[in-house]
């Protein structure tokens, strides 16, 4: 094996400049492929970043006003969800993993702590909401079942609000006024999507009781146990049917309730990016083919120049296969080494771009939503390596055939 490499190297050393120039075209092809794939990945990651705040298989249900009259009811009737809707879906719908109702307090309840106060949108939810919207708990806990059952007056705040109201004080366990009622701070979180989002969460049951909500809820959110769009769509349809029966509106009434199926949109976006990725591969492979043709070209010239040497080798006992192997392995060797450097260089550039992006994103969070963590992962590297070896074999094939067809007599008389 070592012998074999020595044999290849000794011939390549003959034409250092040429080997390097040939290698460059392949290295360039691979470099471009890696850059393109990395950029495609960056765009996709940016898109996925947008979905990061929500579970990708979440279904969000909002109520609206009926657009059609139905069973004697006039159109334009407002649909109001209640705890019974929540109970019904939880009880009767299979295939859901989390469900939560939500209600909001908009301007009615300012938060006050000592001399600081602020007005924020307060979201009142169930404990399972944690699995629907993805929150990064920094300290403490989210709302739990006991809070709901016992109507406890607890509050979960996002970091920016803590910064404003508490300054340097430790907020955990402190009491803060919501409207005129004291709530105890039990948890602090950061929003994944928007680090500066000012959000407040209260237990739904407590809020309904304290802030005069009755049994009304503004909207519903569920996550499903399925991962396919079809199943999610089916669940969405079932929810629509159930609610239509209960609230007596036409099933095909598009204004009565609005359902946002995250998975459907996520998959659509993913589909777009799968398309982009395929496009990128095609361009990348085309670029590599240009490199292959270059290698092939050079190898043909090389074989022609080495006609005599190959003739000698054949005369003293080289089989055609050993000649083919000689040319092929040279070609694979050039492409593999050059490709490796191209790949390394491409990954280096991506890494650099990533570093620049990270520092840019600190000033402007929007950057992450467009372009985030461009990188070529291990599987790409493996694929690229396979492509390279194949490319080398393809590049060497025609020259190798030519070399093995050399007749020793003619070669030796070729003065």
């Amino acid at each position: 094996m070592l012998d074999y490499f020595e044999e290849i190297l000794s011939t390549l050393r003959q034409n250092k400049l040429r080997a390097i120039m040939t290698g460059f075209s392949v290295a360039w092809g691979i470099f471009m492929l890696i850059i393109l794939l990395g950029s495609g990945r960056g765009l996709q990651n940016g898109m996925e970043f947008n979905f990061r705040g929500s579970a990708t298989n979440a279904i969000w249900i909002n109520s609206g006003e009926t657009a059609e009259s139905f069973e004697g009811f006039r159109k334009g009737r407002r649909i109001q969800f209640t705890n019974e809707d929540y109970d019904m879906i939880k009880r009767e719908l299979s295939g859901i993993s989390n469900i939560s109702g939500r209600m909001y307090l908009y301007n009615s309840a300012p938060l006050t702590y000592k001399n600081e106060f602020g007005v924020y949108t307060i979201t009142c939810v169930m404990p399972e909401y944690m699995g629907i919207e993805i929150l990064d708990m920094k300290r403490g806990r989210f709302i739990n079942k006991i809070d709901i059952d016992q109507f406890r007056k607890v509050i979960v705040l996002s970091q920016p609000i803590v910064d404003i109201l508490f300054k340097d004080e430790d907020p955990m366990g402190k009491f803060i006024k919501v409207g005129s009622i004291q709530f105890q701070v039990v948890g602090i979180f950061q929003d994944y999507q928007q680090a500066d989002a000012k959000k407040v969460f209260l237990p739904l049951s407590t809020a309904q009781r304290v802030f005069n909500g009755g049994n009304r809820i503004r909207n519903l959110a569920v996550t499903t146990t399925s991962t396919t769009v079809e199943e999610n769509k089916k669940i969405e349809e079932e929810i629509r049917k159930m609610l239509a029966r209960r609230h007596r509106f036409a099933e095909n009434d598009s204004k009565a309730i609005f359902i946002w199926n995250t998975l459907e949109h996520f998959k659509q976006a993913q589909g777009v990016f799968a398309g982009i990725r395929m496009f990128v591969w095609i361009i990348g492979i085309m670029t590599i083919i240009a490199g292959i043709v270059g290698v092939s070209n050079i190898m043909i010239i090389l074989v022609k120049e080495r006609t005599k040497e190959i003739g000698i080798r054949k005369a003293i006992g080289a089989t055609p296969w050993s000649i083919i192997r000689l040319v092929l392995s040279e070609s694979v060797f050039i492409t593999a080494i050059a490709g490796f450097f191209g790949m390394l260089f491409g990954m280096g550039v991506l890494h650099l771009v990533n570093m620049v992006l990270v520092s840019a994103a600190e000033g402007n969070p929007m950057v992450n939503r467009i372009f985030y963590n461009p990188s070529a992962d291990f599987s790409v590297a493996v694929t690229a390596a396979i492509v390279l070896v194949l490319a080398g074999l393809m590049a060497g094939f025609i020259p190798a055939r030519k070399a093995s067809a050399i007749k020793p007599i003619e070669a030796l008389h070729d003065e």
């Binding site: 070592l2 012998d3 020595e6 044999e7 000794s10 011939t11 050393r13 003959q14 005599k308 040497e309 003739g311 000698i312 080798r313 054949k314 005369a315 003293i316 006992g317 080289a318 089989t319 055609p320 296969w321 050993s322 093995s404 007749k407 020793p408 007599i409 030796l412 003065e415």
Partner: protein, 242 residues
């Protein structure tokens, strides 16, 4: 007692180029014994190179028969032909045909590479052969750093390393001055004395005079085939092969 190493029976060969057919060998009969040193002479176009190519299994023939060490050599795959060449035949060429980017030792060792012998071992064997030809100190030199005579000695070492039955030499002295030519002929004689048959293609009379048998070709047939009385078969102690 003597054994036929090369036997050729009414050998025919023609080259077809387009619509023209050139009949080069028109029925050659030849029998070369083991240990013979033969020269083949003839003007250009007489078919002597073609004959040498066929004897060296570098080319096919059209009709007749060729037996090398009793084996019938006929149309065979290139791989088989390569194996036979490697095993039975050593080549020495006019233009030496050394590989320019390999040093003397590597050039000599090359036939063993194709026998699959490990690098260390084959280089060691190559050094032994170079030593016998007085070139041990030049083992690491590239062909371009050697004189014509030295190059031909390296080529002879390469031809010998696979222990062939026969050495085919195509104008081995054609590119050498007369003094060096004599030296090379002496070496070939030494090789011959170890029992290896040697066929030399040449157009120089004084080279042919040093062989035991001279075969003259003309227009594709053997014109004369006579023993050379001048070159007595000297039994000298060989320095080449123990």
């Amino acid at each position: 007692m003597s054994k036929s190493i090369i036997r050729v029976e009414s050998l025919h060969k023609s080259y077809v180029t387009g619509s023209n057919s050139l009949h080069v060998l028109k029925g050659i009969n030849l029998d070369i014994q083991q240990g013979e040193m033969v020269s083949i002479m003839g003007s250009s176009g007489s078919g002597k190179s073609t004959l040498l190519n066929i004897l060296g299994i570098l080319d096919n023939y059209d009709a007749g028969g060729y037996y090398l060490d009793g084996i019938h050599i006929q149309k065979m795959s290139e791989t088989r032909a390569a194996q036979y060449r490697n095993k039975y035949i050593g080549f020495v060429f006019q233009s030496f045909n050394l590989i320019s980017f390999k040093n003397a030792m590597e050039n000599v060792a090359l036939p063993l590479y194709y026998q699959g012998i490990r690098r260390k071992k084959r280089n060691q064997i190559a050094l032994e052969y170079l030593d016998r030809l007085g070139l041990k100190d030049w083992a690491e030199h590239l062909p371009s750093e050697l004189s014509g005579g030295q190059k031909q000695r390296v080529a002879i070492a390469r031809a010998l390393i696979s222990k062939p039955k026969i050495i085919l030499a195509d104008e081995p002295t054609g590119a050498l001055d007369s003094q060096t030519s004599l030296e090379v002929m002496e070496i070939l004689k030494d090789v011959n004395n170890t029992g290896i048959s040697i066929i030399i293609v040449t157009h120089e009379n004084d080279i042919a005079e040093r062989t035991q048998r001279i075969i003259r070709l003309k227009d594709g047939i053997i014109e004369t085939d006579k023993k050379n009385g001048n070159a007595k078969k000297q039994i000298t102690e060989s320095v080449i092969i123990p």
